[in-house]
Symmetry: C2
Amino acid sequence: MTGRPHERSRTIADVAARAGVSLSTVSRVLNGNARVDEALAAKVRAAADALDYTASPLARSLVLGRTNTVAVVVPDLENPTFHGVLRGLSRAAARDGYHVLVADSVESVEEERILAVETRRRCDGIVLCAPRMPEDDLERLLTQLQPVVLVNREARSTGTPAVTADYRSGLTELLHLLRAEGHRTLLYLAGAPQSSSNLQRLAALRAFSAEHPDVAVRVEPCGVNFAEGHDAADGVLASGATGVLAFNDLVAMGLMSALGERGVRVPDDVSVTGFDDIPFARYLTPPLTTASVPVTELGEQAWHRMAELLGSRAPGHTILFRPRLEVRGSTGPAPARTVGAEAAS
Amino acid sequence: MTGRPHERSRTIADVAARAGVSLSTVSRVLNGNARVDEALAAKVRAAADALDYTASPLARSLVLGRTNTVAVVVPDLENPTFHGVLRGLSRAAARDGYHVLVADSVESVEEERILAVETRRRCDGIVLCAPRMPEDDLERLLTQLQPVVLVNREARSTGTPAVTADYRSGLTELLHLLRAEGHRTLLYLAGAPQSSSNLQRLAALRAFSAEHPDVAVRVEPCGVNFAEGHDAADGVLASGATGVLAFNDLVAMGLMSALGERGVRVPDDVSVTGFDDIPFARYLTPPLTTASVPVTELGEQAWHRMAELLGSRAPGHTILFRPRLEVRGSTGPAPARTVGAEAAS
DNA sequence: ATGAAAGCGCTAACAG
DNA sequence: CTGTTAGCGCTTTCAT
């Protein structure tokens, strides 16, 4: 039946010839655009599936100016967050008959620009995850990319729709949790300094500090992955903090691992929080307290925004997912000896 | 400079007009195919970048019959294995100027066929991960898909190149490890019954059993994810096995988690092995003993095979990556009381 | 309702 | 070496 290797795929002309009609009639029947005599239509359909014909997407794209494809540009396919976004996006887009192209800039901010512009030409729109790109560059880029949806950051000026997590509120909840547990010396292990989600966390920190002068909150540059979290352990211990807020779960995992090697107990000696709630966060020992970000939904909603843009419907408002606090075993009461002890800046 | 939103992107005709030459000359200069007078060439280049011109990939694809895109079809974007494959593939392909399209069949074997065929039309070749597709269907599909590289399974008849892990040898090593630790009653938690990698593991089991009649090896149907591993715990305990070989790391994690809930200690009461070595396997408590599969390399090599096919070079042989045994904390000596105790089938 | 013809943007013969 | 022309496979006026 199927499976016989056809050297070159059939064209609309083959179908037209076999059905004894013109090209336009075939096109009309197959696209259901115009009224066609039912007798002819039947012949066309018969011919089409006798020849196992499907219109060339390439040719259609060229003439229609529409590829039915969108691209997602990510800074790093290694990061579990983007897996989730990709999965959500891909499935949602597929339901609407759209395909998705992935472009991994491998953390290079300069590449990201080129890559996005280049990729844009092969599709109808871009879902852009570019947390580190400077705001000005981003603004300029957005105008070139046209239908674009931002993930995990918002644009200042443009009316570009965005789908993101509310990193500020997530970190605020974690801060309150630790304070409620009696922690008075906290340390935040920062991610990429200029990244949007890092800035949001810093804003949460500032607001919290202003509100709670009894808690000392320090910031230490760190990073975004396991290794960087691991390397931060000595700094964490030196800081004297009893509660550590890691930039994300990966950093928290690295930190807990290094802490374990040094014989420091979590949460007895120090409480650790992550961010994101990656799939394995709950299975760590102890299970990681974190702010859960629904990454798959992020991807799905990114598609919905994109679909609106592609249908030239109203852009829709930016969506913020509020992270859900997941209190697990990596946090607990502050060790007795330090409660209320410190008064340092 | 850049950033001014151009309503419609410029065409080769615009460049030709501005440079005062014909379309073909522009094409020739920009593709460097034929010798062009240097003076004209310079004018063309000047015009091209004054207009910020890039040839439409769509139009080129149509006329060249080549899209510079490949697609990867996966059964489930949720599985960490495919993340790795995708990442390796995407980066390797990008280095050669190729783009990648992802198609997630969301575990539906029937969809997979349709999806692969449909997706194929938008690109130059398919990297196919279809572990569950029946052999006969696969064979038929392969002829339609033309340039295709298989990941994690081989095709019987066709000379389709494949890139896969040697699941059989990996499981054999795990079996030997457990036997060396004194385990004489083992249980294998099987994955998808007809999947290639499950069949390979079963082959390893049979060979091992024949070679070591002193070890009782049972098989229990299970699955491929965390939840299925979790649900297998009671069956595992009922079996009396002291060593459990989970289909993969996800299953092993689920099992260990459920075992923990029941107060069963790993590895003191029962040893557990995984398969794949997903990123977090080493950070579990206890760290998971597993057979490490280099998923990123799998993706990279899949690209290299594909590149050979696209360059109509010799297909290249199928590549087998031998999993590396990672002995960690989830396995240990068999509990004394059961060593040599059982003689059941 | 149907067919002929133009054209999407580009490349590759084919002439000169 | 350069320009003219004919497509790649399809959709869509525009006539009929």
